[in-house]
Subunit: 321 residues, 4 copies
Amino acid sequence: MSKQEFSFPAEAEVIAYMETLSNWGRWGEDDRVGTLNHITDEVRVAAAAMIRTGKAVSLSRDIDPLEADPLHSGIAQVQRFMGLHEVADHLGGEQRRFDAVTEYVGISAHGSNTHIDGLAHYSWEGTNYNGFKESDTTSLFGAKSLSVHQADRGFLTRGVLLDIAALHDVRWLERGHPVTPDELEAAERRQGVTVRPGDAMLIHTGNVEAILTEGPDAPGPAARQAGLHAACLPFLHERGVAVLGNDGIQDVQPSGYGLDLMRPVHTVGLVALGLWLIDNMQLTELAATCRQEQRWEFFFAALPWRMKGVTSSASNPVAVF
Amino acid sequence: MSKQEFSFPAEAEVIAYMETLSNWGRWGEDDRVGTLNHITDEVRVAAAAMIRTGKAVSLSRDIDPLEADPLHSGIAQVQRFMGLHEVADHLGGEQRRFDAVTEYVGISAHGSNTHIDGLAHYSWEGTNYNGFKESDTTSLFGAKSLSVHQADRGFLTRGVLLDIAALHDVRWLERGHPVTPDELEAAERRQGVTVRPGDAMLIHTGNVEAILTEGPDAPGPAARQAGLHAACLPFLHERGVAVLGNDGIQDVQPSGYGLDLMRPVHTVGLVALGLWLIDNMQLTELAATCRQEQRWEFFFAALPWRMKGVTSSASNPVAVF
Amino acid sequence: MSKQEFSFPAEAEVIAYMETLSNWGRWGEDDRVGTLNHITDEVRVAAAAMIRTGKAVSLSRDIDPLEADPLHSGIAQVQRFMGLHEVADHLGGEQRRFDAVTEYVGISAHGSNTHIDGLAHYSWEGTNYNGFKESDTTSLFGAKSLSVHQADRGFLTRGVLLDIAALHDVRWLERGHPVTPDELEAAERRQGVTVRPGDAMLIHTGNVEAILTEGPDAPGPAARQAGLHAACLPFLHERGVAVLGNDGIQDVQPSGYGLDLMRPVHTVGLVALGLWLIDNMQLTELAATCRQEQRWEFFFAALPWRMKGVTSSASNPVAVF
Amino acid sequence: MSKQEFSFPAEAEVIAYMETLSNWGRWGEDDRVGTLNHITDEVRVAAAAMIRTGKAVSLSRDIDPLEADPLHSGIAQVQRFMGLHEVADHLGGEQRRFDAVTEYVGISAHGSNTHIDGLAHYSWEGTNYNGFKESDTTSLFGAKSLSVHQADRGFLTRGVLLDIAALHDVRWLERGHPVTPDELEAAERRQGVTVRPGDAMLIHTGNVEAILTEGPDAPGPAARQAGLHAACLPFLHERGVAVLGNDGIQDVQPSGYGLDLMRPVHTVGLVALGLWLIDNMQLTELAATCRQEQRWEFFFAALPWRMKGVTSSASNPVAVF
């Protein structure tokens, strides 16, 4: 398969995805969870059958307040303030044989950390998924209509890893490598797995490992990253992907389009499909485990906070084989 | 079964639990996850068999920054600051057809929220679980030895609900009701279930529902709450409970002992057993589902943050039937 | 003087103040400090002559993180997180004979606290003082054009207290009492003082003391408060007031106009005049001192933070007699 | 004057300063403001006479959340979260002709910023100034006994700049240059000024300018800095200095002593003398102005927050000539 053969859609065609791939109204006028509707009770039952050896693998990197922006995303901010000797504090200064500590922790979640993007994160022409208004999100009251707490039952489903780095027999794809639907299908064939409705589809590009090893190739948003090309959006829609995860920010950067389509997988995915995203996952150990087990499907668990009014959630997704 | 018949242990006996129920060294000198060692691969495989209908129930309450301390615990603090119009900000003020919002969120986790207590939270005479020092936790560097990020593979195991409120045929136990091991065993018999190694054992007292409905009976730490009596600690140890969850703070308040044993389930549980706790869960819907399904065991999922240096994690545990 | 005799301006007239009282361009196209231009070197020299006995009076209330919203403004948030034992932390756990503590403090300044409103705080039809754009203030970069750090030399000038409560011989004015220019002039006559260019003009209504003593008469923005009526705006402009301070939020609430003019002293003052405001001052001790000294002019000092990008500054103004 | 001639005190002598230079009890058993007692009404009256031309100079650097640690102190943290479109938020989404923005700002004040060190910041053998206990400062309740809000009337007094860089005819002293009392007196003679009780004594070493220009010579606390040697402590005590300010952290680094005396001007100054410190001032413009005016005394204003429970206050001190 050579890159040259793939014919990328024109900008107008990608913008048309906002209509042609839309899930608006599909699950009711008031639906607030989008593609999570694909995770039915039956999907959960089928996913349980993936647990065979019981081996568990974390798909998150550590969140370290002492190294707040390891991926140089430029907007990460992690804080931790310890409250020591809580017992003496509560008991009027009296020391007891036991003691407790507590803390305040704070996160700007849409940054370097492994995090979930909720449906209020992106808008297109003032509108979020299912026609909710961008202006429903305000400074004072937060994201009123599409907060992540809507996903209260979490993402418990089958996970499938498509290992695009392995497809090309490299540790990580070149910076700026656009993953195409041809490559997704080639990975399916190579791995003997087919993405189906309700799946958490994870894409291994090696991008996080590349940045942690060699640094970004430019500061902030200018850095090139491997990721999905907008051309993959019809695949995501047709297969009924419930959750899309990536060791990067999903979108190949640059996207190949103008600024309005700077991040089309985010824009079309979140707004038209209502597709939940998990950015900056750690997929290196998962890819190794899949190779070792010769199995690229597993039970997948990720549980967003039930915090009202927010568009993000730090997350520690786990795969169980 | 009448309360009077139960013989509560003397204070010295509970303090002796620090030795007699100790798991220190049991899983190695450097073990940092305590009772999570009970959750073996085999336990996860067995837990998968609990998923039969696929029905999922959230066990967390919403975290609402606009109502930061619903349980009046006195130390809760939840913050959310929205960053609106992120795209224009990044592109030098230029408006595009798409837009994004982001936010900072902050939590004092050991408060009203549904949260996990990690093993660094409590100490006894300057020492945490497995002999790690309380002084390993500092203002600047946080909890160095026993941070919650050690639990990177999460809590994915069998969950068992012991419904003590239902045992007494009430919506919630009286404030200050001490749950005894006799009651735990009576609930097991009534429900036809037996707690076994690796389980997430959840106790339904109705406490959270009582406070949300009728308010606390006193402000702050003085409020009486139903919860486990220290006498349950041997049960927790013998059965190999991996995770203890409760619609309250585990410990009955007052504990029935002096200030050193103000919260013995926390102190002995966290320090001697290395037992992970989940406070302030929402168990009302779970109890109703168990009753309806006539099944008090289920697949249990809770995934602490992989944040380094902290003793807590907000959490949204989910049960799947 | 009776209230009925005063003829309040119509809404259109107040809106016309945006033009008729405008200081735009008066101190240059790029001026960013507005009425602080009235505080010339000569004004500072004249102000120094006010210091005669050396008695100093604080005009701020305490900011107490344990009582974050004493005036029930609904948006106050004050935080303090202590870092204890900083020395041991820095020296790798080693205890020394000396120790240090540090802390993080956080404030939502436009709330209950005594605070300065900078010129970026309010806009009218998308525009701030001197034609700067409201859109110059963004989530990511803050208030780029009119941040409070522009006032780097502080407010060091003559202060004048107009004691409207004393004029009516009450401890505090009735909730919702609109202070008129007639009353300002009557207070000047009664006190034997005349407001002149560069002055910090402070208005004692007794409002803060009323709320602290008797509570607000309604929650949040609905509460009635004594304060300046929009009719005072020409007085502020003609006299060349540099800083306006008040034991309330300047504006009488309700303002007597529609929602567009909900807070006309803020809107016209900040946007048209470029007038710096100090809300929620503690003026009780000052009023008593003035009465005792039979002197309503003094040296006035308030020093905003030099924090870039912000529209507010907590402040502890001090008067010296 | 050559450095070699100066005989530095031995470590034991400096430790003895804790007794010999102590102000404990001098202003009463319950005194909480230490050397601010030197700023009497008479001192304020005399200070007013310093205002002759009215020229004002800010002595603070900007605090920029986008550049949180310009001096690489390693513990600075400045945050700003904007709340945009506050009006629409409050009025239920309704747009009006006026709008407002607000923000949350947070500071770890004992860092790179120009900030005041309050008397609870340092302790010696568990004790703060005047015998208050270090344990009066707790995670939950903050600095109960010696919070900066005690200084409610601010620092309004005479300021004196001793320009040690100019004494040596350099832009900045060498990193690690220890300023001795000989140099303080030589600067007094050269400038024709004498430090007297109640003064804010400012020391120009050029240290901040050196770091901003050339960077620190090592990361964090290891960096050498010019500053006062412990040998200056008797001078500070004898002259009755009320406030000590510096374009650095007061103490020369390294101090020339062991770890217990890592920062003796902080330790002895704050604990024994009760001396208020202002770290990391911007003194470059002040030094130039003094040289130009041939006058090294001026009116000095600095106003700590009235925040309860804290040991620090960001500050923008201003000098008026």
